[in-house]
Symmetry: C2
Subunit: 110 residues, 2 copies
DNA sequence: CTGATTAGCAACCGGAAGGTTGCATGAAAT
DNA sequence: ATTTCATGCAACCTTCCGGTTGCTAATCAG
């Protein structure tokens, strides 16, 4: 995500910003590739709602979609998680570094 | 974030899921502690809008708030970024592990 | 003191998000 | 051939979100 503009980063984080979707990701992470009904099993929402959530995850690039017969299978796309993770640690540490403190000092001088 | 429930994780990512807020974070990361007007300078939105965004970031624990005279200063809270980063890399790699195990299983079938 | 600057509070608005229901379609099973 | 199962499509509803405006309170500079 280093050279990715803010727009797609925001879409990615927004996709992660929902408890239901985090739950789906957890399931995918533990159980692997699954169909829509399988992913929605036990959840208190309709199948359509699950499908919409998966669509959001797909739009953010967090999952991959495959058709298999009459089913549609979803699986995690781990590289994207790694990129997002990198971006976060970079922003965090950049501000912690000496350079950050130096800039802060200089620019606050009268 | 290891033992943090989905709710606060979702709030955190949701806070990151907006281009304006990502921009504010970038500013804070590069220029350090700043007031509301300073952070909103040059942005095409009202001061109130900026204040609301900062409130969201505060609610997610991504920034810290300090009063100084008539100003209110905001600064990044880097530890939270590190936690979020860890969570992401963990979910990503866990699924890669699952994928590896699945591949083994498949390849060992007669 | 006066005026300018920084911020908070509250009401309001339009659009997007999360959810539902109903109906249609295509593949699997019997 | 019929039935069942997994999805897709579309309309609709309600709540939340990003944004605005107007007004008030506090603090700093002259």
């Amino acid at each position: 995500m280093s050279r990715v503009e803010n727009g797609s980063a925001a879409r990615l984080f927004a996709a992660l910003g929902d408890t239901t979707r985090l739950g789906l990701i957890e399931r995918l992470s533990q159980r692997g590739e699954r169909s829509i009904v399988q992913l929605g099993d036990g959840l208190p929402i309709s199948r359509q709602a699950v499908a919409k959530h998966l669509d959001v995850l797909l739009g953010a690039g967090l999952v991959r979609r495959t058709k298999s017969g009459r089913e549609v299978l979803f699986a995690l796309q781990p590289e994207v998680f790694a990129e997002a993770s990198d971006w976060l640690s970079k922003v965090g540490s950049q501000w912690e570094g000496t350079l950050g403190r130096f800039r802060d000092f200089v620019e606050n001088q009268p």
